[in-house]
């Protein structure tokens, strides 16, 4: 036990913690910051986010047809509001766009200058969210109405899954901003964590060899069993590193304020048909489990390299392709 503790202390020195800090600061600014700072990212993502919360508060984490009819009724009410709003605008009346329907079907590409200015004013300056919101509502309704159309290149297994979901009455009805933001966020966090794990663990076993103290260690009473102890210490340190980083990154994620969505099931987000149907919160837990798993694999692999390679050049060089391939595939995912 004493030896394990001492080995951990050798891996997690203040120098390697500093290295962790530098790596994570840089990767944070490059990959992760965006998904925290710009959530929801502009319009109509903001309206999408607000509408989703409104839907959850009003109808709960699932919506049946009745409830959706009510949702459509709200749309009508809001359209009437927009009609009234447009009728108070002199320009709109003059251009013949005094109702929202006309406003929508108006041919904007050959609009007059006044009409263009009016539209910009309605969307960007007047401080009313009405028009953005209507756009978003009609998008959601569009998805609901097209819920039985499947992608034409779905495999038979996927089609079967779609039918299964349809039978259960599970359709993508809730706006997907929250979950797609989380997905982008967590893949980048995973890249950062893997980078950190590999960076910290790589030297674990090579370090003693470059110091030429292995022959001393192996002739001690503990003997070659020491390698097992070192690996155990490396495993524990990997867990410590992953846990520490995850706590920080999940803390940062809480700034996005998506807890209202936690009870919504993954399949009821738009465009999110999946093989299983966990809630958003369970989904987060699963991804965290996945990060632990992949992190441990990479940590062990790094230690494996560390036992084989003759020097740090080989250690770094051999791992570059793996880390690069992994972060590349995660980024394009």
């Amino acid at each position: 036990m004493q030896i394990v503790w001492n080995e951990i202390k050798k891996i997690l020195t203040w120098k390697s913690l500093l290295l962790l800090l530098i790596i994570n600061c840089i990767l944070y600014f490059f990959l992760i910051d965006f998904y925290i700072k710009h959530f929801p990212n502009g319009r109509p993502a903001l309206d999408s986010y607000r509408l989703g919360i409104e839907m959850i508060e009003k109808y709960g984490p699932t919506m049946d047809d009745e409830e959706f009819k009510d949702f459509m009724k709200t749309y009508e009410v809001r359209v009437k509001e927009a009609d009234r709003y447009l009728q108070t605008e002199k320009v709109a009346v003059a251009e013949g766009i005094d109702t929202y329907e006309k406003f929508n079907s108006y041919e904007w590409f050959k609009a007059s200058k006044e009409a263009g200015e009016l539209r910009d004013r309605l969307f960007f300056e007047d401080g009313t969210d009405l028009f953005w919101e209507l756009q978003e509502r009609s998008r959601l309704i569009g998805f609901y109405e097209g819920k039985e159309m499947y992608s034409s290149n779905a495999t038979p297994a996927q089609l079967k899954r779609y039918e299964e979901l349809a039978k259960e009455g599970v359709f993508g009805t809730y706006p997907e901003v929250a979950i797609s933001n989380f997905r982008d966020y967590i893949t980048n966090v995973a890249v950062a964590i893997l980078f950190s794990v590999v960076a910290v663990m790589s030297l674990a076993i090579l370090r003693d060899r470059t110091r030429h103290i292995v022959s001393l260690q192996y002739t001690a009473r503990k003997g070659r069993n020491l390698l097992k102890t070192k690996l155990l210490a490396g495993f524990v340190s990997t867990l410590l590193v992953i846990t520490g980083l995850l706590v920080i990154y999940m803390g940062l994620y809480s700034l996005n304020d998506t807890s209202m969505y936690f009870n919504v099931r993954v399949n009821t987000f738009i465009g999110n048909e999946s093989w299983y149907n966990p809630t958003f919160f369970q989904y987060i837990l699963f991804t965290i489990g996945g990060i632990y798993l992949v992190g441990i694999v990479f940590g062990l692999a790094a230690m494996g390299f560390s036992t084989i390679v003759p020097n740090t050049l080989t250690l770094l060089g051999a791992q570059i392709p793996f880390v690069r391939a992994f972060s590349f595939s995660a980024c394009t995912d």
Partner: protein, 416 residues
Amino acid sequence: MRIFLLECKKVILSPVLIGLFLLFTGFNFLVIFNSSDHRAELKMVNEIIDTYGREITPSSLQQFQDDIQNDLLKLQQLTGKRYDSVNDFLEDLDVEEYERYSKQEQAFLSGLQVKEMYESIASSIDENYEEIDIEKEGEVALEQYQLSGKAAETYLAENEKFTKRFDEMIRNGEHKQWFFAGKAYYMHTLLFKDLFSKMTIEILLLVILSTTFLATYEFEQRTHLVAFATQRGRRLMNNKLVASLVMAFVITGLVLGSTLGVFFLVFDYSHVWETSVSSAFNWEYNFPYVSWWDLSFAQFLLGVIGVLFVSVLLISALTFSISLFIKNSYVSFFVTAASFILLYMLPSFMPHSSNWLFVAGYTVPTLVMAIPGLFMGSSGLIFFRNFEWATICSWTAITMGVLMMTYRRFVKSDIQ
């Protein structure tokens, strides 16, 4: 000399570096072959240049248009109907009908389509360039980058110089030369952005690995007490520095040579070497590429390669200093990578109202990451005419200073 050669041998015979080099080169070849779908279509430019000359004059353009009209007559014979453009014909054609034509006729049809595209770009050059108002672009850029105060003044002053250069370019007719159609093929982006950015990163990885390896070798092998106690002593580091620089040069040459060699074998550039890089056909995004000097494509490519070589040597020397300071290749590798990224991000930490914003951009990392926009007046916040040479000169001075300091420090340092 022998020490120098033996030091080089360490790098050349390192299986990891060789393996990485092969892997990277293979990866680059993959990128090239994956984007070579349109290589046959690109040959059209060669035909055009052969027939009508490299420069677009009103008479040669007229001739080109006449020839297209002749081709359209041929199309009439082929289909029995008069079309104003081959696209009108192809639009109502479905795949089965198209398959009915012979291979030759299909080649004729697609060739005519490409010709028409080039013609439409060529005949709208004047119109498109007249619409560009550089001064207005400057105002837009101020808003886009949120520049104010001194920074805005500097930007506008440089923009004024660029306006003059732009007018001069139009007078010279640099933009009226045939090149691969940018908006259709994005060849500038493929070569200078996709490929060069990959190559730059690969070269840097290899160079930083080999430099840190050489610089820290004695410490990591625990031979430093012997090595530095010999007659050669600490001057050994001079040999190592020279070996690192030569190896950096060789690695850069090998990576560039292999990848670019294959690139130019796959894509036939033989007729466009002389074409100006500011050609209107080389217009890919919102704004055309406009260089500060009258550079042909070949000159631009050589210039970029030259900048890359010098930058890699500077980075190698700086890495050497860092390694000498840290004496551990693993940590040096990460510290170098981190400093590279931090320097690259430096401008984003600067206030947008002072000239420091621009000064912070004059760094080697920014230089090597901005390869597609080098020598260009259309490259955002680093569009300054003196950007390339000022960066290289100032960083050469900085590197010399740093090397000198670390060496002096190392000579006197306590080695345990």
